[in-house]
């Protein structure tokens, strides 16, 4: 299953890649594969913007805009102008239970 075409904000700079392979280890959608000692994007539309690759790339070769994807959280943030946050996590006892 793939989500919308050409929307994922994943950006990759092969010039900075050292071929450590960490991105292929952390990506849950096999967006990266190793080719000739460097990472290579297979299909950007598979990216779900979880941010694991960007956080774990020691060489700053990957950037991706990640964040909470719950629609209700995004609607709230669109109305209030803040960052989207789920009800859950900060205060487990009173959360509304998204994600």
């Amino acid at each position: 299953m793939k989500y919308l075409k050409n929307v994922a904000t994943l950006a990759y700079d092969p010039g900075r890649c050292t071929g450590c392979g960490r991105c292929t280890e952390v990506c849950p959608h096999a967006v990266f594969e190793m080719q000739y000692g460097k990472a290579h994007i297979t299909d950007k539309d598979l990216c779900m913007e979880c941010g694991a690759c960007a956080l774990n790339c020691e060489f700053g070769a990957i950037t991706v805009g990640s964040g909470v994807g719950c629609a209700s959280a995004i609607i709230r943030s669109m109305l209030t102008g803040g960052e989207p946050t789920c009800g859950c996590g900060g205060n487990a006892g009173t959360s509304t239970g998204c994600c």
């Binding site: 299953m1 919308l4 994922a8 952390v26 849950p28 774990n56 789920c86 996590g89």
Partner: protein
């Protein structure tokens, strides 16, 4: 608080007094176990089978079995807000009789995550390091950063894990990578993070293969079962809002120039109640269940398609419609949009949608939803005016 009562010469006491290279099982004696548990003010838990004395202090040994309590807990956390308070105490736990060479598996303190991990470790030995994720599962907590670099480093240093084991491996669930920067953890603690498989059930195979995950173990899927298990938490919150919607519908249908007439409310309103409920289920149940076969990538469109596919035939071919062309049109506009809106909410539970995509969908669809409500209201008002002989 009772102290441990142990015979001076027993092997348990030897272990308890420490000074040994390998930690031993302190006791399988229920009384001693209970006393030991109360000594770290831990509520007695049936899934704790013993206690180990270790370099990190007393560590509960956990069973790899599930009792009926765990199955009940899983069910309740799948269907209700019970999951928000289904947590275990963060800290160190043992599986089997681990020693200084045993692996350390890191988990979240959502009880269901912890239960799935310990069940997956059946027949193995190891340590479980539970982070304080506020009772949230690994992936969601990683997204928020509570299953994160800082919390992991704090636990590893605070518990002096370096004194517990002679290796420097921490095995994390792969989905924890969203919150944990492996390089940072190494800098802060000296431990090397290895991201294990996505699913805990693959851990034995991962360890046997020399800490290597196959591409299949590294990929998250979203099977019919995965989706269906999530639907109660889509359906239930929506159902809780249904009485309010029902009240509005009945009030509109009961409204007469002379006031709200209950008989009219029911005789005119019941088809809309059924259609509203149908739209609700189309968005929260039908769309998730048939997700891959419903056309379109957009969740709003998927929901709209599923909604239209069930609502339109009901309105056009059953007694739920036919009362008036205006009402039929209102129903066909409104309820597929209800399904669409609810389907869009499901993006928060999927394993493959993006925040950028959801934002893009909302930017387009929120105005459509508002316009749809307005159009159907106008249609209903014209119908009311006509029926009152005012138009």
């Amino acid at each position: 608080m009772k102290k441990l009562e142990l015979q001076p010469s027993s092997p348990e006491t030897q272990a308890f007094r420490g000074g040994q290279k390998h930690a031993g099982v302190l006791s399988q004696n229920p009384k001693a176990v209970m006393n030991a548990l109360s000594s770290f003010s831990h509520q007695q838990q049936p899934w704790i089978s013993g206690v180990l004395n270790t370099a990190c202090g007393l560590v509960p040994v956990v069973s790899t079995e599930w009792s009926s309590a765990e199955r009940r807990g899983r069910l309740r956390s799948r269907i209700s807000a019970f999951r928000d308070r289904y947590a275990v105490r963060p800290g160190l736990y043992a599986v089997g009789a681990p020693d200084s060479s045993s692996d350390i598996f890191v988990s979240a303190n959502y009880k269901l995550s912890f239960d799935i991990l310990r069940r997956s470790l059946a027949g193995m030995t190891g340590w479980i390091l539970v982070l304080d994720t506020k009772g949230i599962n690994v992936w969601c907590a990683a997204g928020k950063g509570t299953f994160g670099t800082a919390e992991l480093a704090k636990r590893v240093l605070g518990l002096n894990i370096a004194g517990l084991v002679t290796h420097s491996r921490l095995i994390l669930p792969q989905l924890g990578a969203t919150g944990v920067n492996a390089a940072e953890v190494r800098k802060k603690t000296g431990f090397t993070v290895r991201f294990g498989p996505v699913n805990a059930k693959d851990i034995p195979a991962y360890v046997r293969a020399g800490y290597r995950a196959t591409p299949a173990m590294r990929t998250i899927r979203f099977t019919l079962a995965d989706r269906l298990v999530l639907t109660p938490m889509e359906v239930n919150p929506a159902l809780r809002r249904f009485p309010l919607a029902a009240l509005v519908i009945l009030a509109i249908f009961g409204l007469q120039p002379s006031g709200i007439i209950f008989k009219n409310a029911w005789t005119g309103g019941w088809p809309f109640l059924v259609l509203c409920l149908t739209g609700l289920l189309a968005g929260t149940l039908v769309t998730p269940a048939f997700l891959p076969v419903i056309p379109f990538r957009s969740f709003a469109l998927k929901g709209l398609a599923a909604g239209a596919a069930v609502i339109a035939p009901l309105v056009l071919m059953t007694p739920l419609g036919g009362a008036s062309p205006l009402l039929d049109a209102a129903a066909i506009v409104l309820f597929p949009l209800v399904a669409s809106y609810l389907a869009l909410q499901f993006t928060g539970s999927t394993t493959f949608t993006t925040i950028s995509g959801v934002k893009k969908e909302l930017k387009f669809w929120l105005p459509v939803y508002i316009a749809g409500i307005a159009v159907s209201l106008v249609l209903i008002i014209i119908h009311k005016l006509e029926s009152w002989g005012l138009a």
